[in-house]
């Protein structure tokens, strides 16, 4: 174990982002440090006008861990500063999974330690199932998308009282996700506003909402693939060291779901651990960064030994 300072240091800045062509999709990513490669995949999906995820959401983890590992946070297809899908029918999770796997290949990284949050937790699990040769370990963080239980996101987060593409709306959403609203920093909201400001981002909203790609492709395809994914987990097809990290107070993901996911994976996979963080909503890695970083560092070290 490299001697790391797991607590984020105030004022640390992310390195300049880089870009790589991933099968025709210009993909933005951050890359720092040396050692075992850790790839972070954030949550959310393209085409939401009330909030927007992008790679800098991992800033509190990326910088402390870069002292001991190669850390890479990339923007998913259609999100952050990565190109949108070309065809309307590619506004799907399957396309996010394909792009994620192709990014790892294009970066000539494999096998990597995948860390996925929320929809990204589903995406990383699916990469570990579909492309096991690319994956050394899997960390699933608060993923209602993977949980077999109902997720009450819509109860907490629908009908934002603020205008679309506004800072106030994004703040309202992320505060709704969090246990302590103070974790929603101005720096985080700056990142959201940068994403909103791009013309291509408004195109993704146009496609998903007004042209109906969300209702026609994204939601029904995900429902089918989720059924398949849970079946595969129950069959024991996930065969990499896996840890599950959950927030006890996540208003959008029922904590019981993490026990279900643990049981499905642990039945077949010895190296499976479950970790529940207290006073934590959806973003455990921002609410308890030093705990999350220490856990990830030890897990990755074990999985690499």
């Amino acid at each position: 174990m490299p001697s790391l300072n797991f607590a984020p240091v105030a004022g640390q800045k992310l390195p300049a982002p880089k870009h790589i062509d991933v099968k025709g999709i210009n993909t933005r990513y951050y890359d720092a440090g040396e050692g075992e490669p850790i790839v972070f995949m954030y949550g959310g999906n393209f085409g939401s006008s009330d909030s927007a995820s992008s790679a800098p959401v991992w800033s509190l983890n990326f910088l402390p861990l870069s002292a001991g590992f190669r850390v890479i946070a990339f923007d998913k297809i259609g999100q952050g500063f990565t190109d949108n899908p070309v065809r309307n029918e590619d506004y799907t999770m399957a396309s996010v999974v394909r792009h994620g796997a192709a990014f790892i290949e294009a970066m000539k990284l494999p096998p990597v330690h995948l860390v996925g949050h929320s929809r990204g937790g589903y995406g990383c699990t699916r990469i570990a199932l579909d492309y096991p040769h690319l994956v050394k370990s899997l960390t699933i963080v608060s993923s209602g998308t993977l949980s077999p239980r109902v997720s009450p996101n819509e109860v907490v987060l629908s009908a934002s009282p603020y205008p679309p593409y506004s800072r106030e709306s994004a703040r309202w959403i992320y505060e709704g996700y969090s246990y302590d609203p103070k974790v929603v920093t101005e720096e985080w909201m700056d990142n959201v506003m940068e994403v909103f400001a791009q013309p291509k981002y408004k195109v993704s909203v146009q496609k998903m909402v007004e042209e109906g790609a969300g209702a026609r492709y994204f939601i029904p395809e995900l429902a089918k693939e989720k059924r398949e994914t849970l079946g595969w987990l129950r069959e024991g097809r996930l065969q990499r060291p896996t840890q599950i990290v959950w927030g006890q107070n996540d208003p959008t993901v029922i904590p019981e779901g993490c026990f279900d996911i643990f049981d499905m994976i642990a039945a077949h996979n010895r190296r499976t651990t479950l970790n529940i963080f207290n006073h934590t909503g959806h973003f455990s890695y921002r609410e308890h960064p030093e705990r999350f970083n220490a856990l990830l560092a030890h897990f990755v070290q074990n999985a690499s030994a």
Binding site: M1, N5, F6, A7, Q248, F259, F262, A266, N269, R270, R271, T272, T273, L274, N275, I276, F277, N278, H279, H288, E290, R291, N293, A294, L295, A297, H298, F299, Q301, N302, A305
Partner: protein, 300 residues
């Protein structure tokens, strides 16, 4: 890395300790489980086995023998009672010049840690409760039949092997090194004194003072709550420390302490630190690292 055995004297009683790891760093105090004289396993610092070097990789670790276990004098039968043992543990920390320590307690040791975290929070950097069936609320639970038909005579090698097999998911850790140490501990004067003391029905009825403290524990947790960062490390297949009971305890402890964590280790019973030592260390050492990181950040 070798562990060094030694002993100190606390209030006239010999206390046997096992040390490992570097001199510097925030110290870890390991408190083993079992109820000396009743448990069909003769517990002691030898129980930590493969976890000891993993925990001691970055900080000094001190594993003690509780009164009536291993090489530690029982003194009086009162020294079996939880509240007395906790006072004794503070005396041990004083004698070792440990102002504060990370406490890791298994089974009964985890219960002791919970009471120490409530009654003497200034002495603990953190608390890790490992697979403790006696720490969570009980309700009208079912009687525990895991060790109902312990083969007699108790504490022979065959009887202790049976108990380890009953309490474990993986059997690989039940090796000669473990059994030799447990048989030796069972034959020691300390353990024989505990067995003799528990012939007294009145003392047996008090069940190590566990339920007597429970009310105080819940009152404290209803009131100010935990001030010490804490984690619960439970296992997927523990026949005694059920996961739902552990998760309920986590929720009770978590009310007012942000740094509270619940973990499950796969394919382990009561002895995750022996059955899955690497995964155990991953969870536990990362917690200690994060608590130390916060301490360091507060000091700068």
């Amino acid at each position: 890395m070798t562990a060094m055995k030694s002993s100190i004297t606390v209030a006239g009683r010999k206390v046997s300790i096992l040390r490992a790891g570097p001199e510097s760093g925030e110290p870890v105090l390991l408190v083993h489980g079992g109820r000396a004289g009743v448990s069909p396993i003769a517990y002691g610092s030898h129980i930590w086995g493969p976890a000891l070097p993993l925990l001691a990789a970055g900080r000094p670790v001190i594993a003690i023998d509780l009164p009536g276990a291993g090489g530690s004098d029982l003194g009086s039968p009162d020294m079996l009672m939880a509240e007395k043992v906790c006072q004794h543990l503070l005396g041990v920390m004083d004698a070792l010049s440990l102002g504060k320590a990370h406490l890791i307690g298994h089974d009964f040791g985890g219960y002791l840690g919970l009471w120490l975290a409530i009654s003497a929070p200034s002495r603990l950097h953190s608390l890790s409760i490992i697979a403790s069936p006696m720490a969570p609320p009980k309700g009208d639970g079912l009687d525990d039949v895991t060790l109902l038909a312990t083969p007699k005579p108790m504490w022979r090698r065959s009887s202790q092997t049976w108990a380890f097999e009953r309490l474990s998911y993986g059997q690989g850790h039940i090796d000669d090194g473990l059994l030799d140490a447990c048989v030796e501990a069972a034959k020691g004067k300390s353990h024989l004194d505990a067995v003799a003391a528990l012939q007294d029905e009145q003392l047996r009825f008090r069940d190590f003072g566990i339920s007597a403290l429970k009310g105080k524990i819940w009152a404290a947790l209803r009131g100010d709550g935990m001030s010490v960062p804490s984690q619960l490390v439970w296992s997927s297949h523990d026949p005694q420390a059920a996961r739902d009971a552990g998760y309920v305890l986590f929720q009770v402890m978590a009310k007012k302490q942000k740094a509270t964590y619940f973990h499950l280790i796969n394919r382990a019973g009561s002895f995750a630190f022996r059955e899955q030592p690497k995964e155990f260390a991953q969870v536990v050492v990362s917690f200690l690292d994060s608590v130390d990181a916060r301490l360091a950040a507060q000091h700068t």
